[in-house]
């Protein structure tokens, strides 16, 4: 059974670059937590600090009752008892698969018979028993991934660290492995910390997501909660296509030229960003009233499950994903229910860069 990971007040800087700025979070024992962030957000540094590969400047990391980093110093990676799987797998080119899996057990001086049995068991569990004698250069990407996971799990870690483990795989294989390995971790009761920049990967496996930006923890929570109620524009765009329209909020109403909208959640006063997802939109017959606005269709295309319309509302661009087709140049009425709208702080990230993502 995995143990709870507690990270408190973690700080780290490389020269003038801050990669962790008072980061605190907790992953309960057996929980699966994804750390999501763009390049340079500090997620890999966080991963390396939890693994013990780099030392934090301040703060503490604990796993269960054991202190990894903190007032009592730094526990080296070889004494943390964790499993780790890198993006490129980091398989050792001079070892066949069975030796890779047995490596950690050999270092722990387990009896040979026990090592052989455990290695066989892990190979079977990961369905790679036929590859036992092969070297890494003789394996496909998916097979390498399974070997790396078997190697990490064979030492029976209390915590498993995954660094973008699916990014080198093609989409169908990624989904298969994601589901299969997710079920395995759950069955083993492992605590998992998974860093990624891929929102689908993060939201598809984790029961909790942390969003990092500029070394700071922006928001954390269950994936659906973050998707619906992002704390700011950055989180909103990181978690999926988002419409962000700058305007003014007062007395529970948001106004921008051409829009009069009511939103759920917090009701700020003054400059604000109206946020809603493209799939919350539907085309209606009008007329203009609260949460219904007129727009001109700039472009339209089929997108997986519906029509994706790029619309112009006054000076703003909005994206709508609907089941109703429309022609480019046509004027349409768009309805976004109040419960799908949120008002976000307007400061910080560039609205132009973030709006209408996807």
């Amino acid at each position: 059974m995995g143990e709870a990971l507690q990270v408190h007040g973690l700080c780290k800087r490389f020269g003038s670059v801050v990669v962790a700025d008072h980061v605190s979070f907790e992953v309960p024992g057996g929980g699966y937590c994804a750390v999501l962030g763009p390049s340079g957000s500090g997620k890999t540094s966080l991963f390396n600090m939890v693994a013990g590969l780099i030392h934090p400047d301040h703060g503490s990391i604990r796993l269960g009752h054991r202190e990894f980093d903190g007032p009592r110093g730094h526990l080296p990676p070889e004494r943390r008892g964790i499993g780790l799987c890198f993006q490129d797998y980091a398989l050792w080119p001079h070892m066949p698969v069975k030796e890779q899996v047995a490596f950690g057990m050999r270092l722990r001086r387990r009896p040979a018979a026990e090592i052989a049995a455990a290695t066989r068991r892990w190979l079977e569990l990961l369905r790679i028993e036929a590859l036992a004698e092969r070297y890494p250069h003789e394996l496909s990407g998916g097979q390498k991934q399974r070997v790396a996971i078997a190697r990490a799990l064979a030492v029976q870690p209390s915590l498993l660290l995954l660094d973008e483990p699916f990014s080198n795989l093609d989409a169908p294989l990624r989904e298969i492995l994601r589901d299969e390995l997710g079920a395995l971790y759950s069955a083993l009761g492992l605590t998992v910390l998974h860093v990624t920049h891929d929102r689908q990967e993060a939201m598809g496996v984790a029961d909790r997501v942390l969003v990092l930006a500029g070394g700071r923890l922006c928001q954390e929570g269950p994936p659906h909660e973050l998707y619906r109620n992002p704390a700011n524009a950055e989180v909103a765009t990181l978690l999926g296509p988002a419409n962000l329209v700058p305007g003014h909020a007062e007395n529970g109403l948001f106004g921008a030229n051409g829009l009069r909208m009511r939103a759920a959640g917090a009701q700020p006063h003054g400059p604000a960003l109206l946020f809603f997802r493209p799939e919350s939109c539907s085309l209606v017959s009008g007329p203009a009233e609260l949460n219904i606005f007129q727009a001109r269709v700039e472009r339209t295309a089929w997108h997986e499950t519906g029509w994706r319309h790029r619309l112009k509302v006054g000076d703003h661009e909005v994206v709508a994903l609907t089941r109703t087709p429309a022609e480019a140049g046509a004027k349409v009425w768009v309805h976004v229910p109040a419960e799908a709208c949120r008002l976000l702080p307007s400061g910080g990230a560039s609205v132009a860069a973030l709006s209408a993502a996807g």
């Binding site: 390396n48 693994a51 013990g52 590969l53 080296p76 990676p77 070889e78 004494r79 943390r80 964790i82 499993g83 780790l84 890198f86 490129d88 980091a90 398989l91 050792w92 080119p93 001079h94 066949p96 490596f103 950690g104 270092l107 722990r108 070297y135 890494p136 250069h137 003789e138 790396a148 190697r151 990490a152 030492v155 660290l161």
Partner: protein, 566 residues
Amino acid sequence: MALGITALLVLIVYPLAAVVIQAEFPHLFAPQSPNARFDPAALIRVFRTPTDYRMLGDSVALSLGAAVFASVAGGALAVVLGRTDLPGRAVFAGLAWVNLLIPSFLLAEGWTFLLQQGGLLSHFLTEPGWMQNVFTTPWGVGAILALKFYPFAYLTVSAALPWLGGEHEAVARTLGASTTAVWRRVFIPLLLPFLASAATIVFADVLSDFGVAITVAESHQFPLLTYGIYSSLYNQPTDYAGAGALALLLGVAVATALLAQLLILRKNRFATIHAGFRPPAPARLRPQVRYPLLLAVILFFAVALGAPAGSILVESFLKGSAYGIITVQPTLANFASLAGPTAHTAVLSLGYSLRLALVTATAALALGTLLAYFGTQGKGGTGQFLQAISLWTISVPGIILAAGYVFAWNQRWLSSIGLELYGTVFALGLCYLAGGLPYVLRFQMGALSQLDRRMMSAARVQGAGVGAVLTRIVTPILAEGAVSLWLFVLAGTTFELPASEFLYPPGQPTLAVEINHFFSESSYGQGMALAIATAAVLITAVLILRLLMRRRLPAAVRAQAPARTF
């Protein structure tokens, strides 16, 4: 780590500092009342003495000429062998390595035996006169040096060729470029910095060469800088300050070349290799190009390697083959004499040098790998220090290091603390180690920096400490390269001449010293036979080790061993 860096300071930095001190503060090492008074008289004397001044100018001019010739030849050879489907490419590449590994003093003697008045060529050609005339000019000496050192240019450009990916050619072709245009507009501009870098490496190596300087150049009344250092220390009265001044000037010239190389590479860093990099396929040569090109390459190797090496081989099988009295009667007498009672010293010197080289190569590999590991794993400062020291000292001519050892370890204050290394095998062994260590450090740092650090992190997280990471992950992956490196240091040390000449303990000449003694006594056949017997021992060792490696190492490691760069 601190111990390793201290070793570097003692082995390399202190002796080199002693050269500077000897040139600029000669009274600091004075036996009576030493003082630290700055006195550049010896340095000024070099520029005021016409012979010294000419020697300096000749050495630089000769090195420049040889660098241009060797870079063009080595660069062209690299392109032909690296980018075409010419038959026998692997054999030619191997021959370039053989050319690199044969000591220059042996090659020079081979050329001498071939081209000297009454030499081997006189027996086969009626009019070899023009060749003999050219041979005795600076042009001839320059050509010998260029033909010895072109492999450095070949290796430098070969290492750069994979940078010219197939994608570059494909894109240029789709934009309408012909093969010639692709070379002219894309490949040659990309290769130019590497050619320039190769030229500076050859310049530094030619300038530092001692083997040709002590043989051909000296006998042709064309003294070079390295010979000047040698004669200042060897002839009576000994001129320590003069030797120090010449060594310092040589060091400055080499450092300038090195700096130029760094600037060239830094300014032209084309970071085009990426994860999906596709190396280009070799160009298919048309028959009308293939066979003339093959002939040209064969001719090149026949001249660069076949002529001097063949001459060495022939000479070893000729009785009493002092120049001018050749008896063209093959005999094994020279080899037989090595086993006879009269050649006791020769055989002893062979065993002595091999033992010393074994210890030196092993120590250099162990210490260098350990330092390289900490250098690449540690924080920026340590790595940069080790990179700098290896880059700098790898280019320090052996003769400067040897002179530095004479200055550094032949000190009265060392005797007073009971450290009397000078004149013992330890001074020689340490100097060998100092010469081999920078190569190991540089090559292993290059290899380690190419290893994915995450492989080592994965091992550490699995429970491996530093020792286990080094023995179970790093060593097996780098094993094949490390063995090659060990052999490189072993071979280089076995035939090492400058340090041996200065530092061999009385009554215990090393192999190179003994071979040189044979030459100076006109026993060329015996000298060559001793060299060939040693080469045979080394080649057998190489073949056995290669065979063992092939059996022991999985194909995966051989295929994925990191590339090494010069």
